[in-house]
């Protein structure tokens, strides 16, 4: 399947979904006014990936900012991956946050509490 590569903008993250090695990365900021529009292709890609996934799928979330409109879309994305995890691939989430960014660390914990996927919280100096 084709990889999904989207270049980041002032309001949207860089998306690097690689079906060949099972790595899905979101990096940068996600603050579009209407996030549904932005996340739809990502959901569609995961649906496709679900048909022939790698044995391991790693999700790297490296977000500097995200708005509440995106938070719902990110949850839906995790829910999609949660389903996938019960099928034929093992899904792991790495949640990156910058040191001192308690809000982003807390946001990761919020998802961790809702979603049944292994989350690893990773503190970095700069995203």
């Amino acid at each position: 399947m084709e990889n999904l590569n989207l270049e980041g903008s002032a309001k949207t993250p860089t998306v690097t979904f690689d079906g060949g090695n099972g790595t899905l990365e979101l990096k940068g900021r996600s603050i579009p006014e209407n996030s549904i529009e932005f996340y739809k292709p990502l959901n569609d890609w995961i649906d496709q990936y679900a048909t022939t996934p790698q044995s391991k799928t790693t999700v790297d979330v490296k977000l500097e900012y995200f708005n509440t409109s995106s938070s719902k879309c990110i949850l839906d994305l995790f829910k999609q991956l949660e389903k996938l995890n019960q099928q034929n691939t093992e899904v792991h989430v790495n949640w990156y946050y910058e040191e001192d960014d308690e809000d982003m660390a807390e946001a990761g914990e919020d998802y961790q509490a809702i979603i049944d996927l292994p989350f690893k919280m990773i503190e970095v100096e700069e995203i």
Partner: protein, 195 residues
């Protein structure tokens, strides 16, 4: 004061402009805007505030909080302006709104104002009072509950904005609902962010 956008038709003597300027200066306003919120104004304002905070060498922690709260406040103005407000009694555009960003003693104060329908006023009031009555932990669980159970509107809003603003600012949301007439109520919100 770095920049002021004031989109009003100047029918009055220019002498009054200094009064407006003085009032903004007294409130330590960095940027203010009155008009219809667009995606471009949103982007530009965020850019200006980022470079401004950069110049002031604000710590990353406050910088992020201000940016986050600002995004939610401005996107509220962008999304929640009712297109169907029915009022012909005043000539102003009901989709107009106002925002001001001020910096005062190392704190940032984001103030917004917009028209809402009077019938939406009690719902909003109840929601804000509920949020203001919550502890930090309660806000966290309320956020998770709405995030998990809530549905997305067609505008892409999730009903999380005010909860998020309260969580990130760590302060009570100061607000006012001013009835204008039977078709209009003016909603003002002021959020304080400091370390």
């Amino acid at each position: 004061m770095e920049l002021i956008f004031i989109f009003v038709s100047i029918a009055r003597p220019v002498g009054n402009i200094f009064e407006i300027y003085k009032q903004l200066e007294e409130r330590n306003v960095i940027i203010s805007f009155k008009g219809v919120m667009t995606s471009e104004i949103l982007t530009t304002t965020l850019q200006i505030m980022e470079s401004r905070m950069d110049k002031l060498e604000e710590r990353p922690k406050i910088r992020k909080k201000v940016f986050n709260v600002l995004v939610e406040c401005l996107q509220n103005l962008y999304h929640h302006i009712d297109d169907d407000i029915d009022d012909k009694s005043t000539p102003q555009n009901k989709r107009n709104c106002l925002f001001m960003i001020a910096r005062e003693n190392a704190a940032y104060i984001i103030t917004t104002g917009n028209y809402i329908k009077p019938e939406d006023s009690p719902i909003l009031e109840e929601k804000l009072d509920t949020i203001n009555g919550m502890t930090r932990d309660e806000l966290k669980s309320y956020y998770k509950q709405v995030l998990n159970e809530g549905t997305m509107s067609y505008k892409g809003t999730a009903g999380l904005g005010m909860i998020d603003i309260a969580r990130k600012s760590g302060k009570k949301l100061e607000y006012d609902l001013t009835p204008i007439n039977e078709n209009l109520t003016f909603f003002s919100l002021s959020v304080r962010i400091q370390e």
